[in-house]
């Protein structure tokens, strides 16, 4: 209870503090450069030049400390030793390149990058196209969208139960093994069989991300001008032709946005791997490997170097996003 009280207090202090800051700083600005008197126009201009920065000050400070500074400090740390005390040059990076587990993580991340965005977007597109045409579409959408609200850890529990293994001859309680056995297979310990297990972990993320893709693509599909579809129908196009040749090309931009957004999520994937296999049996990925070196390895140099690699992989998408955003603003 104490704790909840302190949480409520923090909300009060945080919100109240913000409001007080904004109010007082604006008041102060109006006092220093009053919009009256002899040099009124000079004062107004001055106040208008300063005011935006007053409005943005708390945000800029927080972002600078929590996002910009860590970027540079991580680069610095990645050239230091485990305790962050001695300069070791590129040792962390050369260790990384030779490390088998890092290579495995890179290989898996590449696999994830290919499989997850592709399947999520494809399923999302199918789900959007299908649910837009049926009466109970909203309900269907809500059901497919629901995993978005479930934590990665919760999703891991859900799927680990699906993948559960019982020895042959006993009743299978995992759905996958039950189906596999029904079709004549011998029950497998899925999460320990290499390569297959990575794909089974990807299924979890695809399951979560498909709803996101569906919602956005459905919005885009509805935005397609009706005339184009009607014209195609009059020309005798089949429903499949309409979908692939008329609709999909028109929402291509949105498909790419969805694809890149999911790509970012994939690059940061961590919880699923940590809770389901903890990177054992050939399932390691960069996000979890970095965490491993941070917590278990207690090596800020190597962990930072891995984080930098993740950042480098994100960088192209970041630049592409910024260029797109700037194009829109113009």
């Amino acid at each position: 209870m104490d704790q909840l009280f302190s949480a409520v207090m923090t909300i009060g202090i945080g919100v109240g503090g913000c409001l007080t800051y904004f109010f007082l700083s604006n008041l102060l600005l109006d006092r220093i450069y009053p919009a009256t008197g002899a040099n009124i126009s000079f004062n107004i201009n001055r106040a208008n030049a300063i005011r935006p920065w007053l409005f943005m000050f708390p945000a800029i400070i927080l972002l600078a400390i929590y996002l910009v500074y860590p970027l540079f400090w991580s680069i610095y740390l990645s050239f230091m030793d485990a305790a962050g005390e001695k300069f070791v040059g590129g040792a962390n990076y050369s260790w990384m390149l030779a490390d088998a587990k890092f290579q495995e993580s890179m290989r898996n991340n590449v696999l994830w990058l290919i499989v997850v965005p592709a399947f999520s977007t494809a399923f999302g597109l199918i789900a959007a196209a299908v649910t837009d045409r049926i009466k109970w579409g909203n309900l269907a959408k809500a059901m497919i969208f629901m995993p978005m609200a479930i934590s990665f850890v919760g999703a891991s529990v859900i799927w680990k139960f699906v993948y559960d293994f019982r020895p042959e001859g006993t009743a299978q309680i995992g759905l996958l093994n039950a189906i596999y056995e029904y079709f004549g297979g011998v029950p497998q310990t899925w999460l320990t069989s290499e390569i297959v297990n990575s794909f089974l972990l990807m299924v979890v993320l695809i399951w979560i991300q498909t709803g996101f893709a569906m919602v956005i693509l459905s919005g885009a599909l509805r935005g397609i001008p009706e005339e184009t579809v009607e014209a195609a129908i009059l020309d005798g196009a089949s429903p499949l032709q309409i979908f692939f040749k008329i609709k999909v090309p028109q929402i291509w931009g949105t498909i790419i946005v969805v694809w890149t957004t999911i790509t970012i999520t994939v690059l940061k994937v961590f919880d699923i791997v940590l809770t389901m296999t903890n990177g054992q049996w050939g399932t390691q990925v960069l996000g979890n490997y970095m965490f491993d070196w941070l917590v278990r390895g207690q090596d800020s140099g190597r962990a930072s170097a891995i984080a930098i690699v993740i950042m480098l992989l994100v960088l192209p998408i970041m630049i592409w996003n910024i260029r797109n955003a700037r194009k829109e603003m113009r």
């Binding site: 704790q3 302190s6 949480a7 909300i11 945080g14 919100v15 604006n26 935006p52 409005f55 943005m56 708390p58 945000a59 972002l63 500074y69 860590p70 970027l71 400090w73 991580s74 740390l77 199918i126 049926i134 109970w136 059901m143 629901m146 978005m148 609200a149 479930i150 934590s151 850890v153 919760g154 891991s156 529990v157 859900i158 139960f161 559960d164 009743a171 995992g174 039950a178 399951w207 498909t210 709803g211 996101f212 919005g219 009607e230 129908i233 429903p239 969805v258 970012i264 940061k268 961590f270 809770t275 965490f291 800020s300 962990a303 930072s304 930098i308 994100v314 910024i322 829109e328 603003m329």
Partner: protein, 377 residues
């Protein structure tokens, strides 16, 4: 659109079927765990959850009442009792006296044990063991029954988990993390978004580009430097640190969503307020903020779901002690240490995802709107 072409009923069918298939595929895993959280531990590991909706057959070993409970009826010594434990319901289809043939005899008939006792087990579970000589030993006679039990569900797991495993504590810890971390960034972001949307100043485009860039900065990058910073500043591993971290990590999305929304508000309202002599502070508080409610709501939902569901930030910036472990952290521990106790795992998982699910279904409209405004432009 279909009616233009005429009756395409086969297509409609296919579409409905495809949708139903997708929905099933997407809900079955969750549903399975939900069903399991209402089953008893023994049932979960003895049969798949999909069988729990139907009566179940199980072979169980029963030990009869102890020999000293025998009563004498004429020349016979008789032990009677019920194969079902108290409160248990079901029917018995067959029984047997050896483990090699546990279902050799149909219920209601009589079998003879290796010791020469005659045993009858009825469908309702009552049994009668007869002997011409007094029973020997101290342990009851062992026999086997094949029972058919009706589907049974229990809420016991929820009671156990909420009182025992510290999950109630975790629930409060998660709430302590996520509520301030949702509310605090909103105001900070709203002021910044207003400045970026409606005030002219040099460097505005550059700042906006930075915000867009920061949207995708991987969290992993920030962990070590911030942990060191928190330790250096004396914040250490505490709620304050998590609140600050979550607030800052949520800011880029908040500023981006709110700026896009505010920039779309009609210029006339703001300009006429300016002509009437309103200051920027007044315009913001009295006009922009109330008008931006939909965008504020969608960000609040995103941030709440993200902070409630987060594991990484809590693991790094909070300690692992009972009074600081959030629910996702507890679930992770459970999966490691009690990975086979599905009744605990399933129940804990459902308690942890209940709140986000409620928020999700109640506020879906705002969530969808936020997603659309964030990505489709």
């Amino acid at each position: 659109m279909d009616n233009i072409v005429g009756g395409k009923s086969s297509l409609t069918w296919a579409v409905n079927l495809a949708a139903a298939f997708l929905v099933l595929l997407w809900t079955i895993p969750t549903f399975g765990l939900l069903v399991s959280s209402f089953r008893e531990k023994d049932q979960i590991i003895s049969s798949g959850w999909w069988q729990s909706m139907f009566p179940q057959e199980a072979a169980v070993q029963v030990r009869g009442a102890a020999p000293d409970t025998a009563v004498q009826e004429g020349a016979l010594f008789v032990i009677t009792g019920n194969a079902f434990e108290e409160g248990q319901a079901g029917t018995i289809s067959a029984f047997g006296v050896t483990s090699r043939e546990p279902a050799a005899v149909v219920a209601g008939e009589t079998a003879t044990t290796p010791e020469g006792y005659r045993i009858t087990v009825n469908a309702d579970g009552t049994y009668r063991i007869e002997s011409d000589v007094p029973f020997e030993g101290t342990r009851g006679e062992r026999f086997f029954v094949t029972t058919t039990q009706p589907p049974s569900f229990t809420t016991e797991n929820y009671g156990t988990v909420l009182t025992g495993e510290g999950l109630a504590r975790g629930f409060f810890n998660t709430m302590t993390v996520s509520i301030p971390a949702t509310i605090i960034p909103i105001l900070i972001a709203a002021f910044a978004a207003y400045a970026l949307a409606w005030m002219e100043f040099p460097g505005r485009a550059l700042l906006l580009a930075c915000v867009v860039g920061m949207l995708v900065v991987p969290l992993q990058l920030a962990l070590i430097p911030l942990l060191q910073l928190h330790l250096w500043a004396g914040i250490g591993k505490s709620y304050l640190g998590v609140w600050l971290a979550h607030s800052a990590f949520g800011l880029p999305l908040a500023i981006y969503l709110l700026r896009n929304y505010m920039a779309g508000l009609p210029r006339e309202i703001i300009e006429s307020a300016r002509v009437d002599g309103a200051t920027d502070f007044q315009i913001f508080l009295k006009i922009i903020l109330p008008l931006s409610f939909p965008a504020l709501a969608s960000f609040a939902i995103f941030q709440f779901l993200w902070t409630w569901n987060d594991l990484l930030v809590a693991l790094v910036f909070l300690g692992a002690t009972q009074d600081q472990l959030v629910m996702t952290g507890q679930l992770k521990e459970l999966m490691g240490s009690r990975g086979g106790d599905w009744e605990l795992l399933a129940t804990s998982a459902f308690i942890s995802i209940a709140v986000p699910l409620v928020v999700f279904f109640a506020m879906q409209k705002y969530l969808v709107r936020g997603l659309l405004s964030g990505s489709v432009k």
